[in-house]
C-alpha cells in the first residue's frame, strides 16, 4: 500500500471488544465486515449491558412506585442525558427516543408537517436522500397539496449549492437533507445550508444516520431544527433511534401517537398532553435499547469521534486507491476528503449482485443494490451499485483484500 499516516487508533485492541469480528465464514475465511452503512456491529460492553439490565434492573419506566421501576427509570433518563451530551443539545427533553431514523423523520413529517405545511408550500430535499428521508415528505405532500423539490447532485457527487439558492423560496417550509449520503458518502456543507434555509424562513431537518456515528455532532453549532439518527448504526441495539428537536418546536408539535405516557390527564371527553419528552413518546418506550444506546455512546466517546473520523478517512483513501488501480471499476461520489467511509462502485459489465456474491465467497460482506436510494441511482444512470462501508474497527489490511477480491470477480466472468 501507499505510505499513509499511522492510524490514531489501536484497532487490534478495539477489535477484541467485538466478538462477531472474529467470525470465520465459508470454511475458514476471516470475516471482513464492510456493510457498516447498513448496520454496525456492537462491542461486548453494549451486549453485556443489555443482559445486565434484564437480569438486574428491568421494570417499566415512570410511575412505578417500586424499587425496580426506579432503577429502570433512572437508567432510561441517564441514557437520554448521554445522548444530549453526545450531540450537545441544550436540554435533555429535546431528545426524543424513537425506533430509528425512519420513525424520527416520520414523526416530524406527521406532527410538525401536518400542523405547519399547506397546499402550495414547498418541501426542499436533495437528490441523494435515502428513501426514509423522501417517502415521508412525499406522503406529507400528498396529504397537504405541498410540493416536493430537490437540490440536484453534481456529476462529482456533491450538492449543487447554486441550485439550492434558487430553490429556496418564501414558500419553502422545510429543508430535509442528509448530512452524509449513504451511497456517495458525500458530506454536505451543513452550516452554510442551514444558514441559507433559515434566511429563507425554512426549518431544517438533518438526517444524521450516516454522520452521527462517524464524526462529532454539535446540534447547537449546526443550528439545525431537527436531527434524526439510529442507534444500530452506532453500535447500539436495533429498535432505538433519536429525534432531536429544538424545544420551542417540539413543544408546539401535536403528539404523533396517542396512548400511555404521553398524557397528563385523560377523561372520557379527551386528554391533556404531557410535557416533553413524554408527549412525543407514547407507550412503553424501548427502555433497554435506550440504555444500550447510552453504553454505545460511552464507548464511542472513549475512543473519540475525532480519531474515529480520522481513521475512517485513512481507510477510505486507501480504498479509493485500490479501486483506482482496478480496470473497469467506477467509483461514485466525491474524493475521500469530502466523504464518509462509504465507497459505492460498479465493475464494467458485471452486475453489482454478482460482485457482492463473489465477495461473499471470499469472506467480504458488502451490499449491492440501490441502497434505499432509487432516485439517486437513476441520477447516476445505474440500476445498482456495490457498496463497501467502513467503521473504526476495520483495518488497512482488510482494505487491501479489496484488490484481490475485485480481480477474482473479474476472472469469474470471462468477458469482463
Amino acid at each position: 500500500m501507499n505510505a499513509q499516516p499511522p492510524s490514531p487508533l489501536d484497532v487490534d485492541a478495539i477489535r477484541r471488544d467485538f466478538p462477531i469480528l472474529a467470525t470465520r465464514v465459508h470454511g475458514n475465511l476471516p470475516l471482513i465486515y464492510f456493510d457498516n452503512a447498513a448496520t454496525t456491529q456492537r462491542p461486548r460492553q453494549v451486549i453485556q449491558s443489555l443482559v445486565e439490565v434484564y437480569e438486574r434492573h428491568y421494570a417499566n419506566v415512570h410511575r412505578g412506585i417500586h424499587w425496580l421501576s426506579e432503577q429502570s427509570t433512572d437508567l432510561y433518563s441517564e441514557a437520554r442525558e448521554k445522548v444530549r451530551a453526545f450531540i450537545n443539545a441544550r436540554h435533555a427533553e429535546e431528545v426524543i427516543f424513537t425506533r430509528g431514523t425512519t420513525e424520527s423523520i416520520n414523526l416530524v413529517a406527521r406532527s410538525w408537517g401536518d400542523a405547519h405545511v399547506g397546499a402550495g408550500d414547498e418541501l426542499l430535499l436533495t437528490e441523494m436522500e435515502h428513501h426514509s428521508n423522501l417517502v415521508p415528505w412525499q406522503q406529507l405532500a400528498a396529504r397537504t397539496g405541498a410540493v416536493v423539490r430537490f437540490v440536484p447532485v453534481t456529476d462529482d457527487g456533491l450538492l449543487n449549492l447554486d441550485a439550492l439558492e434558487r430553490l429556496l423560496t418564501e414558500r419553502t417550509k422545510i429543508v430535509a437533507l442528509t448530512a452524509a449520503s449513504n451511497v456517495l458518502g458525500t458530506y454536505v456543507p451543513l452550516p452554510e445550508i442551514v444558514r441559507k434555509a433559515h434566511q429563507a424562513g425554512a426549518k431544517v431537518l438533518v438526517d444524521g444516520a450516516q454522520s452521527v456515528p462517524h464524526a462529532a455532532t454539535d446540534v447547537q453549532a449546526m443550528e439545525a431544527d431537527f436531527l434524526a439518527f439510529s442507534g444500530h448504526k452506532l453500535m447500539g441495539p436495533t429498535g432505538i433511534g433519536v429525534l432531536y428537536g429544538r424545544r420551542e418546536l417540539l413543544e408546539t408539535m401535536p403528539p404523533f401517537l396517542g396512548g400511555g405516557s404521553m398524557i397528563r390527564r385523560v377523561t372520557l371527553d379527551g386528554y391533556e398532553s404531557a410535557d416533553l419528552p413524554a408527549r412525543l413518546e407514547a407507550g412503553t418506550p424501548p427502555i433497554v435499547e435506550a440504555i444500550g444506546l447510552g453504553v454505545a455512546i460511552d464507548y464511542l466517546r472513549r475512543v473519540g469521534l475525532d480519531k474515529i473520523h480520522e481513521h475512517e478517512r485513512l481507510l477510505t483513501t486507501a480504498a479509493h486507491a485500490v479501486l483506482a488501480s482496478v480496470s473497469g471499476a467506477r467509483v461514485f461520489g466525491p474524493l475521500p476528503e469530502h466523504k464518509a467511509g462509504i465507497i459505492s462502485f460498479t465493475l464494467s459489465g458485471i452486475h453489482a449482485h454478482d460482485v457482492a456474491q463473489i465477495f461473499d465467497r471470499q469472506g467480504i460482506a458488502v451490499r449491492a443494490g440501490h441502497h434505499c436510494a432509487m432516485p439517486l441511482h437513476k441520477r447516476l444512470g445505474v440500476a445498482a451499485t456495490a457498496r463497501a462501508s467502513f467503521y473504526f474497527y476495520n483495518t488497512p489490511a482488510e482494505i487491501d483484500q479489496l484488490g484481490p477480491a475485485l480481480e477474482k470477480v473479474k476472472s469469474t466472468f470471462r468477458r469482463a
Partner: protein, 129 residues
C-alpha cells in the same frame, strides 16, 4: 466457491440462448425486480396447436437472472401452453440447478414470472387489470 458461477451458468449468461426481440411475437410481457434493477422481457410465438414455437428474451441484470432467462427460453420451446401454465417456481429453481438463498431465488424466478404472465398476454391486447 459454490457452483452458482459454474460453467453451464456462465455459458448461458455470456452466450445466451435466444437473446433478442421477436417481431412476430404473439405473446409478450416484461417485468423487473425493483430491488436490484434487473429486468426481463419475453416474446413468445404460440401456434394454433397451443404450443410455444419460439421464445426470446431481452434483459439486463445479474448473472442468475439472465442465465435463468436463457435456460427458460431453451426449455419452453415446443412445450404445450397449458402444461407451461402449471410450471412451478420449484421446477424453475430445479431447472437452474445450484441451490440459491431466498434473496437470489428472486433473481432466478424473474424470468419464470415474466413467462407465466406472457402466456396470458396476447400482443396487441391490453393485459388484464
Amino acid at each position: 466457491m459454490d457452483d452458482i458461477y459454474q460453467e453451464r451458468i456462465l455459458d448461458h449468461y455470456e452466450q445466451p440462448y435466444h437473446r433478442g426481440r421477436l417481431p412476430r411475437a404473439t405473446h409478450a410481457h416484461q417485468d423487473d425486480n425493483p430491488l436490484c434493477g434487473d429486468f426481463v422481457h419475453v416474446d413468445l410465438t404460440i401456434g394454433p396447436e397451443g404450443k410455444v414455437q419460439e421464445a426470446w428474451f431481452q434483459g439486463d441484470g445479474c448473472c442468475i437472472s439472465q442465465a435463468a432467462a436463457s435456460m427458460l427460453m431453451e426449455a419452453i420451446e415446443g412445450r404445450d401452453v397449458e402444461e407451461l401454465k402449471r410450471f412451478t417456481p420449484e421446477q424453475m429453481l430445479e431447472l437452474f440447478g445450484p441451490k440459491l438463498t431466498p434473496n437470489r431465488q428472486k433473481c432466478c424466478l424473474l424470468a419464470w414470472r415474466v413467462v407465466q404472465a406472457a402466456l396470458y398476454a396476447p400482443v396487441g391486447e391490453k393485459p388484464p387489470g
